[in-house]
Symmetry: C2
Subunit: 324 residues, 2 copies
């Protein structure tokens, strides 16, 4: 179980170690969306995504002896970088299990952030088996990407900040759109808002065709995606909502939203032009929902969590072509 | 004269109306620079540059009757947008005199921010004559881009924030690199640091070939640039330091730094990759100086003011090519 008390405790552990990201806006986006659009750019967080929050929360909560043995994670993306940097800043070792065909830059970055990268052959090996063998041998603690209460608590600190920032802006009622993969960020934010801003409503945003959370919320039970890959929003393609995250999402969140790949790219281009921030496709689906699904949103204001900005230059340039 | 009291008064008028921009960093940039690099992204300020601070400072200080008659500015760039938005948020009218060959997007943006745009023919008309005629006819107040004490005071609030943020990070001694055109931002920051962080030293950064401030600081008197245009860093190409800004710069600033166009573009690419922010070439010269002129910088930490992000997609894509 993740609870508001766990989020508040995580906020204390994260204090001074994470960035409190600001709230950005632009009159041009407001006009496009026909309401005020307030963007929380977690792309500006350490390692370029909110994932550092959850990683820090989990690692900082370990007992000292356990922590000193080190941690392990499976990820080729934002969670990998978050865990590597959080471990390094704690002065402990981390092992990240990555597919050998992951982009060279991501492998190099994860190493440069202090992790030992263990590569596996995606076709012939299972990362869980490799990871469990290493973890058992060295006594490492596994940091799961989302279905882990301490990780959810860390991501939930984003929601505490939103509650405070919305109050400062005089906003007491609004939809809070969140880019959603396994649901760690969305469920954490929903728990924080439940207590600290009960009329702000978290709503998961996903790519069309990978809208497992939206469909699960509609049916009231966990639904799966048909495909595991094949969408530009790689950071948020997960097979299904988590066993821990889904009950929270189901209890607290408003209906899900979904956008096309082109809409995610257009939102990246508008974030470049109007907010001067770099978003990756998966980190732009909430902004895309605010801009292109306004008919499904309620209220004069909408809050958007822009969750990450780790994008290849070529993909970014492709997004910028929508501006010409 | 601009004084610290004027900056502190401007900070009170700006409170609640500007964004307090955060401090960003990346271990990758630290490694490249061989010291800790702390970046203050004024590209995230309203209208995409620090110029909004000075515009708000000047307009908010006008007497009510004077303000109600409206303001006027000459600019095709960041100052235009800053004045237009600050005027609009004060509920007053603004006239921006722009060359008729300015990029259509900039003209449209300035209009969309609420200004009346008056176009002039750069070859056959003088903007000052046109502006003065309109100002006299309507009783408008001219907001100068940098050689104006109230504007310098507004830009100086950036320095107050830097002093506080550096203290929070435990930094008492460092070079503060500032992208420098006419010197409004640099002189304002220097005045703020003089009182609030006397061992932080402001240093102007410019494009090679347009390093009038650097040469003026070296000679102790105002030096001019040979050319008026012909560099990608358009936002900071000014003919010479201002009559009001230069004495401040000369008294308080460390030696100037200059970088090539390619170095500015490379810094933009690294800001994209490592900080997830969008910089324009003129807004990236301070970061470029931190990364590529490290031998001319003192101390374990360097603070960089990234002053703006209003860049055409094509130029940005050109910068990203340095990553491939």
């Amino acid at each position: 179980m993740s609870t508001i008390e766990m989020i508040e405790a995580a906020a204390e552990r994260l204090n001074g170690h994470i960035r409190k990201t600001p709230i950005l806006s632009s009159p041009f986006l407001d006009k496009l969306a026909s309401r005020r659009v307030l963007v929380k750019p977690e792309c500006l967080q350490h390692t370029g995504s909110f994932k550092f929050r959850g990683a820090w929360s989990a690692i900082s909560a370990l007992k000292e002896a356990e922590r000193q043995r080190g941690v392990i994670a499976y990820s080729s993306g934002n969670h990998a970088q978050g865990v590597a940097m959080a471990a390094s800043k704690h002065g402990i070792s981390s092992v990240i299990v990555m597919p050998s065909d992951a982009p060279q830059l991501k492998i190099e970055n994860t190493r440069a952030l202090g992790a030992e990268v263990v590569l596996y052959d995606r076709a012939n090996e299972k990362r869980e088996e490799i990871g469990e063998a290493i973890a058992a041998e060295r006594g490492l603690t596994l940091i799961r990407p989302y279905d882990e209460p301490l990780v959810i608590a860390g991501q939930g600190t984003t929601g505490l900040e939103i509650a405070g920032q919305a109050a400062d802006l005089g906003i007491t009622q609004a939809d809070v759109l969140v880019c959603c993969g396994g649901g760690g960020l969305t469920s954490g934010i929903a728990l924080a808002l439940e207590k600290h801003a009960p009329n702000l409503r978290a709503r998961p945003c996903e790519p069309e065709g990978f809208d497992d959370v939206k469909r699960s919320l509609a049916s009231g039970r966990i639904e799966k995606n048909n495909a595991a890959s094949g969408n530009i929003c790689d950071a948020i393609l997960t097979p299904q909502p988590g066993d821990i995250t889904f009950p929270i999402l189901n209890r607290l969140c408003g209906p899900g939203l979904s956008v096309t790949e082109e809409e995610a790219l257009r939102a990246m281009a508008l974030a470049f032009l109007r907010l001067k921030i770099v978003l990756e496709p998966g980190g732009a689906v909430a902004l895309a929902s605010a801009l292109f699904r306004g008919d499904q949103i309620e209220g004069d204001d909408v809050i958007v969590v822009a969750s990450g900005g780790n994008v290849d230059p070529a993909v970014f340039s492709r997004a910028l072509e929508f501006l010409t």
